[in-house]
Subunit: 300 residues, 2 copies
DNA sequence: ACCCTGTGATACCCGCCGGGTATCACAGCC
DNA sequence: GGCTGTGATACCCGGCGGGTATCACAGGGT
């Protein structure tokens, strides 16, 4: 079984994503003719038609679609391999048998959604630092729902994730906490005076459309303003231009001009600690243990 | 970020597994000097010492250990990509938009532990075949606990797994059934007359050591005979030379010379249907739906 | 009808790098 | 001290990945 080189996968993924040889060539940093040839060779070697070249434009075949998904996963795994290897050697200089206490502190990269988890994160870091032989934790703020990609490609070793928003598929995880959701409104808005709200209450309010976040780089369609980070969002809410729905612990970053009202029918948000399934790090295991001890799911 | 070529990963994994350049070179099909050079280049490019060359023998550094694990995962992902791409094109000739009903039947490879699941499997295949638009299911018998590797490297698309024995880490899965375990003994053995047994009862019987299976290619230490498949095991039991512990449904393949006695304190065995986390196949989703409908976990 | 534009494919050349053989350097070991 | 077996080094060569120039062809403007 011949196995594809990552170069070939990079090339194909670029073409499959751009659906344009010229742009793809520029992206991977080669000229267009070699790219064309590489894809042709790849198709010959696989014995599979991956692209439908319909003069003026390229489209993926079903097999091409499969290779796009699988190839992305393989490339992530490859870059994860080099990242994690470098990191393993970084602090520990590469010597000393695995698991042996050689005095060097392991390092773990923890990905968290920027702006969330203020208190839970603080308690976790404090409690873990007190553990004997604790690794050094580097907190890596991630964009919206980007933790999954960070775990996959090795930028992070472990992540805190929010269940309905993040997908835990492909990772090991432990449940930490469950919380309700609140609506965050401009302080002066009529609804801000209510004790509780429902999703229906805030769904179609004229003049107060819910803000939209980019998902996988694109904004979902809708009337609300497009925001990239919480600061933008907070400002727009303070200005009375939009509203948003967040987990309860988002109260931590509320402004004076904000009002928070519990939502009775919003799905609960479950916080998990997640890590790559094949991880073998002892430091990671200790961190997970600390986390579950600190915040047992529900009342376990 | 330069990304390793799969060739380099193959080379390194070979050396890391063999801990011997000569044998590794033979395994990957090149001469030894190019292999040495490739590893040196790899270490230079990563800026990391992966191997400790201590004249007369090679050993892994901590970083090397990491790259071995991560590299295996990446290689599995790469070979899975080509296998699944070829399979996607196999039946469907590569044409027809994804998801479009183009008349060609999708094919799914289902990995099952050889010899297990007689009735559950039969019912599942029958029920699924009756579904409209069902894919063609190819049943792939796997060795002991080999289903995980088969899912990872693309030899299979979906698998039936036994919970305490298989690890579901890294896969999506749904629970199907739970069953107790039974001791399988020679029919004439004194213990075979008992109504129930405990693990302690059969643990240290003189002259009747429990058989040992290879785990990851090596046999765990112990007094029992080493067996590779169920036929060998069945014969040894019938001959009164050994005993074994199995899920209840193993009654299906009992011989006349066998006796089965329930174990009261053995951990229950949970059967799952599992698949790669990033799978997007509609046919697979239908199969999973059929399976959960057919065998709801406990009494859901 | 014309050319211009933009697409991907082809033709051709070149330099580099992966692979081979021959050999070395060194540590055990009879 | 020679023999064996290890990995590293030296050197050469062929193939292949990459570049430039060009082609073939479909639209679309006027």
């Amino acid at each position: 079984m011949e196995t594809l080189e990552t170069r070939e996968l990079r090339y194909f993924v670029a073409v499959a994503e751009e659906l344009h040889f010229g742009r793809a060539a520029e992206r991977v940093g080669v000229a267009q003719p070699p790219l064309s040839r590489a894809i042709q060779q790849l198709e010959r070697r696989l014995g599979v038609t991956l692209l439908e070249r319909d003069r003026r434009g390229v489209s993926l075949t079903a097999a091409g679609e499969v290779l796009l998904h699988e190839g992305r996963a393989a490339l992530d795994a490859a870059t994860a391999a080099v990242r994690r290897t470098r990191r393993a050697a970084g602090g520990a200089d590469g010597r000393g048998g695995p698991g042996g206490p050689d005095g060097s502190r392991e390092r773990l990269v923890l990905a968290v959604k920027a702006g969330a988890f203020h208190e839970l994160l603080q308690r976790l870091l404090d409690a873990y630092a007190a553990e004997p032989g604790a690794a050094e934790i580097e907190v890596l703020p991630s964009g919206t729902c980007e933790q999954e990609a960070m775990l996959r490609d090795g930028r992070a070793d472990v992540a805190l994730m929010h269940k309905p928003f993040n997908s835990l598929a492909g990772f090991d995880s432990e449940e930490l906490t469950t919380e309700g959701q609140i609506a965050i409104l401009p302080a002066g808005h009529p609804l801000a005076a209510r004790e509780t709200l429902t999703l229906a209450d805030i769904a179609g309010i004229p003049g107060l459309p819910l803000a939209r976040w980019p998902r996988n780089g694109v904004f979902p369609p809708g009337p609300g303003p497009e925001v990239d980070d919480q600061t933008q969002l907070a400002q727009l809410i303070a200005l009375g231009r939009t509203a948003a729905v967040f987990p309860e612990t988002a109260r931590a970053w509320l402004w004076a001009e904000h009002a928070a009202v519990p939502l009775t029918d919003a799905p609960p948000v479950v916080t998990h600690i997640a890590w790559p399934a094949h991880s073998r790090s002892l430091a990671l295991a200790a961190l997970v243990r600390t986390a579950t001890r600190l915040a047992p799911p529900a009342a376990a």
